[in-house]
């Protein structure tokens, strides 16, 4: 999900609702993460906003049911992530807006409700999409001809060498670099079904290589919301990128705080793995 929002109000002048779309948009732009899009300039010179629209999700605020802003976005082929209709918000509050432009408690209540609706949608989106980190730093150690890497932060591990990394209420699960090196060339990933509910340390499918089959032991409890379909055609991604492109399962977490008690953070797992590699013949 984008970290910025582009907000496109209808900016109508002939009804109170249009004016409220503008007021709501101006309030949103108090935040540095919000870029205000002028509908008229957008229509005249779309390129003015191209970079902003590429970087941010588009939220449209229509004043009335003519939906000028939505139509404009549609005509220009822009993807709308969220829409709010001021007249519908006012109706839900049992407030009649009319034509006259006014600044009173009722119109302020409508503006406030529009802002709350937009903020709530942003939070919902943040919670429904896993946000990948921009970059991951690694610590490494070598044992014989092998070099093992472990992320420096934001990953948690069980002692079965499966990891979890969290984004809001979602998390991704995968296997460590140690596992993929032990398995060697991975040929097949057998993931769980979307919608499966599971407890911490339950079986979450398996990975098969030419050498062995590895059972994925879940580091957390939750519900499967996605599997990495990219592994169907390219299971070798687990070998090439075990902590990033080779993730296995995306889950909605049940109680990460409790699950975390039985997991190692990155520095602890790094030490655990060093001991384990020293004891086991890799």
């Amino acid at each position: 999900m984008s970290e910025t929002i582009c907000v496109l109000p209808c900016n109508g002048l002939d009804k109170c609702a249009g004016d409220l779309s503008r007021r709501a948009a101006l309030q949103l732009t108090q935040s540095e993460d919000v870029e205000l899009i002028c509908p008229v300039l957008l229509n005249q010179n779309k390129s003015r906003y191209e970079k902003a629209l590429e970087a941010g999700d588009l939220t449209v605020i229509d004043g009335c049911n003519t939906r000028c802003a939505s139509k404009l976005a549609g005509d220009l082929g822009l993807a709308i992530k969220d829409k709010v209709n001021v007249s519908e918000v006012a109706k839900a509050l049992d407030i009649k807006l009319g034509v006259e432009i006014r600044e009173d408690q009722e119109t302020q209540a409508v503006v406030q409700a529009v802002l709350e609706k937009i903020n709530s949608s942003v939070i919902d989106r943040a919670e429904s999409e896993f946000v990948e980190p921009e970059s991951i730093d690694y610590n490494t150690f070598s044992h014989g001809k092998f070099i093992f890497k472990v992320p420096t932060a934001n990953y948690f591990f069980n002692e079965n060498d499966c990891w979890v990394t969290v984004s809001g209420k979602l998390a991704r699960i995968g296997v460590s670099d140690y596992v993929q090196q032990n398995l060697s060339d991975i040929l097949y990933v057998d993931p769980p079904e979307i919608g499966d509910e599971f407890e911490q340390f339950d079986d979450l499918g398996s990975i098969e290589s030419s050498k062995a089959v590895f059972e994925i032991i879940s580091p957390v409890s939750g519900t499967v919301v996605a599997v990495n379909t990219g592994l169907n055609d390219a299971p070798e991604l687990v070998n090439e990128s075990p902590y990033e492109k080779g993730w296995l399962v995306e889950v909605r977490l049940s109680d990460f705080e409790e699950d975390q008690d039985l997991l190692h953070d990155c520095p602890a797992y790094f030490e655990f793995l060093q001991r384990k590699v020293a004891e086991v013949d890799v």
Binding site: N11, L36, E103
Partner: protein
């Protein structure tokens, strides 16, 4: 062209203070300075093509009030409808630097901003009266 009504169209721009002033000038013309004969046309609605705004501009003279030299309102009217009978570029009245300041909520307007609205409205009235006489 019929001259018993005159359309006043502000750019309503969100790129700059000039856009904010254009909105206020349109309201002032409609409600205080030339009520009755003045019709305000909503530019976003004009662009969307609904509501009879374009048809109005075909039949009646229009004055565009643009916040800056991009002249979005004038250009849109002439693109989708007819040549404007008169036009104003607010940056020529209040100066480009002022016009390009950030747009404001009406509750944050200062006496200086209201003076800009007055000056622009007076200029609009001159053009308006020239068309209607």
């Amino acid at each position: 062209m019929i001259v018993n009504k005159i359309g006043v169209i502000g750019c309503s721009g969100e790129e700059c203070l000039g856009g904010t002033i254009s909105r206020l000038v349109v309201r002032k013309m409609l409600e205080e300075l030339r009520p009755g004969m003045t019709t305000s046309l909503c530019l976003p609605l004009f662009i969307a093509g609904d509501g009879g705004e374009r048809e109005f501009a075909e039949k009646y003279p229009t004055i565009s009030i643009d916040g800056c030299s991009k002249c979005c309102a004038k250009r849109a009217i002439e693109k989708y409808s007819n040549a404007v009978a008169g036009s104003i570029d607010i940056s020529e009245i209040i100066g480009e630097d002022k016009a390009l300041e950030k747009p404001l909520s009406t509750r944050n307007l200062t006496a200086e901003h209201l003076e800009f609205v007055k000056q622009t409205a007076e200029k609009t009235c001159e053009i308006y009266d020239g068309i209607s006489s």
